[in-house]
Symmetry: C2
Subunit: 424 residues, 2 copies
């Protein structure tokens, strides 16, 4: 099925708003086994909307527009497309009742132009909006009008908090009712860290080749500090084949996989700590709080995350973590010995089961020949001792922080999974 997306909104063309609809819709449609062929952003102007939509209707089976359904003067999508299709706009009393109810519930009078949102192109289908006043609209465009076969035009509202639930709760069932041939798709997404994309591919692809000949699709998505594997299979045997593929990948990559779907590494760590009834504290130098920030983004982190020390200065490393001044003088703040002393000091002072320490050179300045910008030591102290990992992350400051925190969280995660033996 050919699908095109048209995002309307002058704010998109001015760069005032980032177009997140496109990616979100692409991912949602991808989970249905569908792919967008083209995406276009245009202004709010009626003539622009008419020309872009008529071009898309000449190519695609399904054209989805976003935006321009509200009551203000720059909301032109509904009227422009009714004009393009030669359809009269008629008031839908059910929609009008919903709009009146929306304002009544909020003890507000109905604003003068709100009723525009109850106007529906004749023959169109209303897609109810549970989070706002402007409903979505679906119109079947007859064969011969823009191309030889019929197509569908769907208008969705612009605000993400209206569009997203409407898409999932209303649009997808509508889509299934219109396109009976909609492919049945089973998708498994597995997320790994600590591995390179090519290593992942070389390890799993040969073992999956049999399933690929049966129709399995494998996708790799390498982000900074993470490789995502997407296993997708269309058809009646979707669940069976995708399930087999998932088993194979899990067997091959073992605990390099930290989660599936939208899991995050910090959530995996917090859940592991909870399940093992262990507590954690952090001692951060170069990450400056980012490690604590990630951990405390997980709701319920307070059950396992006790506290942290941002020991940016050497004085703070001595005072708060008990790092001996001799170590700082002899080895420097960015050293294995300092990372070890920070982790052990943090664990002992905080009276926690585990502590993570990070000390490195985030840059852009402060590097030397021996310790260039990007050098970082990560310490993990646990009940049985302490390990220190040395890494080299020569990136810009924020990427450095992210990659380093990813390595620290993964070191702890693997230790909790008892892969890595802790030596004293």
């Amino acid at each position: 099925m050919q699908i095109e997306i048209i995002n309307t909104g002058t704010e998109l063309l001015l760069g005032r708003t980032l177009n997140t609809h496109h990616q979100w819709l692409a991912l949602q449609l991808g989970d249905l086994g569908l792919r967008i062929q083209r995406q276009t952003s245009i202004s709010d102007t009626a003539s622009e909307i008419i020309s872009a939509v008529s071009e898309s209707l000449g190519r695609a089976d399904l054209v989805i527009t976003t935006g321009g359904l509200g009551p203000t003067s720059d909301d032109n999508t509904r009227s422009a497309l009714a004009e393009l299709l030669g359809l009269r706009l008629v008031q839908d009393s059910a929609v009008m009742d919903r709009i009146n109810g929306f304002f009544a519930l909020r003890n507000k009078s109905v604003p003068p132009h709100a009723s525009i949102q109850a106007m529906v192109p004749e023959g169109g289908t209303v897609i109810p909006n549970d989070h706002g006043t402007a409903p979505g609209l679906a119109i079947e465009v007859p064969a011969g009008k823009f191309r030889l076969t019929r197509s569908h035009l769907v208008m969705l509202p612009g605000p993400p908090r209206e569009l997203r639930p409407m898409f999932i709760n209303q649009f997808i069932p509508w889509l299934r009712s219109q396109f009976l041939e909609l492919p049945k798709l089973d998708v498994r997404t597995l997320r790994t860290t600590g591995l390179g994309e090519s290593w992942v591919e070389e390890t799993i692809a040969p073992q999956l080749s049999g399933l690929v000949t049966e129709g399995l699709e494998i996708g790799y998505c390498a982000k900074i500090g993470e490789v995502e594997i997407r296993l997708a299979m269309v058809g009646e045997r979707g669940a069976e084949i995708a399930g087999q593929a998932e088993k194979i990948v899990r067997r091959l990559l073992k605990n390099h996989i930290f989660g599936s779907h939208t899991d995050t590494l910090e959530r995996a760590v917090v859940e592991l700590l909870k399940s093992r009834n262990k507590t954690l504290a952090v001692a951060e130098s170069c990450t400056g709080g980012f490690l604590g920030h990630r951990l405390t983004n997980v709701p319920g982190a307070s059950q396992v995350f006790m506290n942290g020390y941002l020991t940016y200065s050497n004085g703070a490393k001595e005072r708060d973590l008990g790092v001996p001044s001799k170590i700082l003088e002899e080895h420097g703040a960015v050293s294995e010995a300092t990372a070890r002393a920070m982790a052990e000091g943090c664990r002992d002072i905080s009276k926690v089961d585990y502590s993570l320490s990070v000390t490195g050179i985030a840059g852009p300045t402060g590097g030397t020949d021996q310790k260039p910008v990007g050098t970082v030591f990560i310490g993990l102290a646990g009940p049985d001792g302490c390990v220190v990992e040395k890494n080299f992350n020569p990136y810009d400051r924020e990427t450095f922080k992210f990659v380093t925190s990813q390595q620290a969280l993964n070191l702890l995660r693997k230790t909790l999974l008892e892969v890595r033996m802790i030596s004293g």
Copy 2:
């Protein structure tokens, strides 16, 4: 001038990558007084590239493509567009020398397909790439080929860290050389925090109405915790009128303005601390490290940011900051008294000039009738005493952290500007 952007890349259509090029280019072009008329995303396929670009060349004076200039099999932009324009690809020796130099510098042998990047459509202009191997290309499309007047086609590389410096350092001078009629535009962007968008508009708009009649454009952009004001004026009197407008806005909004252009609040705070030779420490509970993270994102923060305490648990608040257990029992961890004891304890232990403390309920759980989710106390201890601000930020967890950190940084910034008197 009619401008269209075409972003190529199958990853965009699959939703694997968020299209940030579009917004970035729109903002850059906006600063030159130019506006994008249409943006299109298409796959890597040669036929798709050819059809989208030929459509755009039929409409626009300038068509900019991004992506598809690299050496791999899915990099089709260069060859597809040479085909579309009927131009032969010839090797450019200067580009080949740069590619060879690029790999020599990194002690790597030149990969087999790298030389493809030195192929230039005959008559095309090379836009050097200072951060990668694929140069950009600019081609003048003669009148009569796609429309009655000539147009320009510019191909930029896909990776942001290559595209962005190329756009600023190479593309803009090229654009000025080609389009002598480029409007002269003066833009001033002022960034405020702590004010509502409508308050800002009601305060400044009446005072700017005279300049608006002369052609001044005012734009407001409300983000979470921030309102940005854009003052733009086209023409010979641009600098004069925009300058007058900036003076008026600065007089009206005073130190609610924390910076201009791409300044951040954390940078403003770090610069103020540096200029006043003052040091800072933080004591964070509910923000969990995010405040430290923002401060340490500023290069050179180590001159003024000494250390921090992430006292997530009550035990840590007592042990690390000396918050009396009596205060925690009587007032609770989320209270004015605790925020004050945290800030004062942090200042005294850290021996810094200023300390910020944050304690609140980020949610989604943990709220009560008296202290609902979103309640937060922000303490600032300085040389002369301590103030505590109570705020209500009923958002999701990450937005809560951002807004709270914004309020804390702004409290310190205003204090450093000596607006706010500190009482003991």
